[in-house]
Amino acid sequence: MTEPSETTVDSLVPIFFMGKRYDVPASLTIQKALEYAGYQHIRGCGCRGGVCGACGTVFRIPGSYKLQVGLACQTVVQPGMHLMILPFYPGNRSVFDIEEMKGTGGELAALYPEIFKCIGCNACSQGCPMDIDVMHYMAQAIRGDVAGVAETSFDCIMCGLCASRCPAEEVQFNVAILARRLNARHNIIRAKHLEERVKEVDGGKFEEPLRDLMSKSTEELKELYKAREAEPQMAEEDWKPVDARYV
């Protein structure tokens, strides 16, 4: 079994994986290049699509002292690159009961008092493979701006590279998810229509129509299916169907 792109004929370039040289096709991502080299990944490989945070990678190009970051599944190899994958980071995580909280900045600070140790060096932002302005959301956390942290950190994949670069030993990604959860739970208004609909369901409002559908023949169902009234693509939120018997 092969992933389709491995069949491409391509010029080989050297890469150094944890210091060891492999010659790999120039067009491959780091992840596929290592497979080409003979690895079957166990750690350091997850969704292979840039969203899970399993394959955060630190690398350096010869001639430069600068460390760069990327996701192994998304970053194309560069000739001579030295790299390592960081599949795990032992960051601190505080336990909390979201029901008992209020969604304030003080709660962030109480669970992660180390946020005040941030020295604003920006190594975290430079170390983020998702281009999140991590230092900015840490500043927001220090200011108690829970909604700000939630918004700035929304794309975080929790790979831990920020924390790995932090001289103040912050665990930015855990601060961020706490803020997102607090914000969504306590600061943003709950959906009233959900509450109402759950009550309707619990009250048995749809029991009979549903049971009736379940007892219908395929032919009858097909007719009902074809006759469904479609909410137009560009309809506004307040659109109402003509047939309101089952809503």
Partner: protein
Amino acid sequence: MPYPESLKKLIEKVVATRPARVERKKNGQEFPPLKLEEREPVLRNFHPDFIEGTRRSIKVGPSKGYAISNEIVDLLEAKSRVNPYLINLLDPDFETDVLIIGAGGAGTAAALLAAQNGAKVTIATKLRHGDANTMMAEGGIQAADKVGKDSPYYHYLDILGGGHFVNDPELVYTMVKNAPDALRWLEGMGTSFSKYEDGKMKTMHGGGTCRKRMHYAADITGAEIMKTIRDESRNHEDMINVIEFSPAVEIALDDQGRCAGAVLYNLETAEYHFVKAKAVIIATGGSGRLHIQNFMTTNHYGATADGIVMAYRAGVPVSFLHTVQYHPTGVVFPEQAEGILITEKFRGAGANVLNINGEQFVYEREPRDVEAACIIRECSPEGRGNGVPTPTGKFGVWLDSPMIDMLKGEGTVRKEFPGKHILFRRFGIDISTEPMLIHPTLHYQNGGLDINNKCETNVPGLYAAGEVAGGIHGENRLMGNSLLDVIVFGRIAGIQAAEYIREHGDSGTANLNHVKQYNEEVEAAEIDVDRIAPMILPDYSNPEVRKKQLTKDYFGTLL
């Protein structure tokens, strides 16, 4: 890689037709959807499920005679990875109330509910907690919660129409009815759904929906849900113990045929461990990494059908596995991103699907199987031959994302689709001004283990939830019903397993007799290969390297 000149030239044709298409869309003039009776011939001629020689009947086990994809049959007609005579079941390495196999959306939801109902939970998972297709689901989660314009009644009809009217009615009923409460549960845990200022959930259309009921968290809905429920489970480490990099390979039964635990394989020390449990929930997800018919896949690295294999050996029949879902829109260029999912939400937001001439050839919100078949027809030389050629000799069609900005205001693509915007930006493509080149890609296991509406299998104490189970989606799942499935049925499985152990207490003495018998059955069927299963991980390592892996016998954990 940015688009080469050859593709940039073809994009000009898309740009040329765009203003008129946007205008039509604004006026509510859609490309005509196929009628119900027109769907059938397109599917029969162009959907991969109908290609001859791609399925065969299973020769062994509880669903013997059922014809499904060769790649899955290969795993079912295989022996155990371990010698069942050597595993010591009398001295368990771990003991727990409920063992959950798989730590994706269904497994984690089940863990939270089982723990909440008083059961001690152990989750065993192949990779990390949250490494699962749930994490990769993008577009949204359905629930009929818009009072006054939608209801579970229409959700039910949409699901049946998408699934070709063969779905299990009880399972569909259970899902649509519990959908609003599932959303409320997620909201209450602090999942950041996209909302209006008054707290109302934003909802969109998906393929095959008659009402806008797709809730979302930008274009990373699954990741947002997975990160939230995983984080919550980490608040309950006293009740929920997670064992990572330890996939289960066999179920154990007791002398009365009840489920009694599972055998795990520690991927790093190569040990097999026995976990004794009073109930087991299989939540191992799907099978995209089997690359059925050599298709590229959107699936997670660990999606190898392990749960199907284990439970099947323990006597659980399978159904609806004769159809496989190909997502209409996977990346076909740039090559480095090949197979990656492009959420249906782009089409839900109005993006047209276009051929090499920049022309529409399909309504962009057909159910997935129909949409995929129409795209294959457009690309294939046996079809209409209007595909866009890629530099590596494949074909795709355009997904016209820039028109979303024209319909809904500049900046919408960047704001509503941050995940894909970043992905393409890495390759020098701006999807708010350039369309994406896409082709159908292996996406979802429509069928799986037989369960009832309590997630029970026919083996007492053995439950299944999520993509590993079959029946809910019939022969074709609609967008946004998979995230819903994992949450609704994950929660049910957790509650039911906790209740089961309250009633039945401890399981009896564990054995692997069914594995021994299954091995014998495979031999008796004269299946003439040395295959073992489950697969655990796909092997993409270089065949040239493998030729030199000449160790005569494995010693310890060294290959």
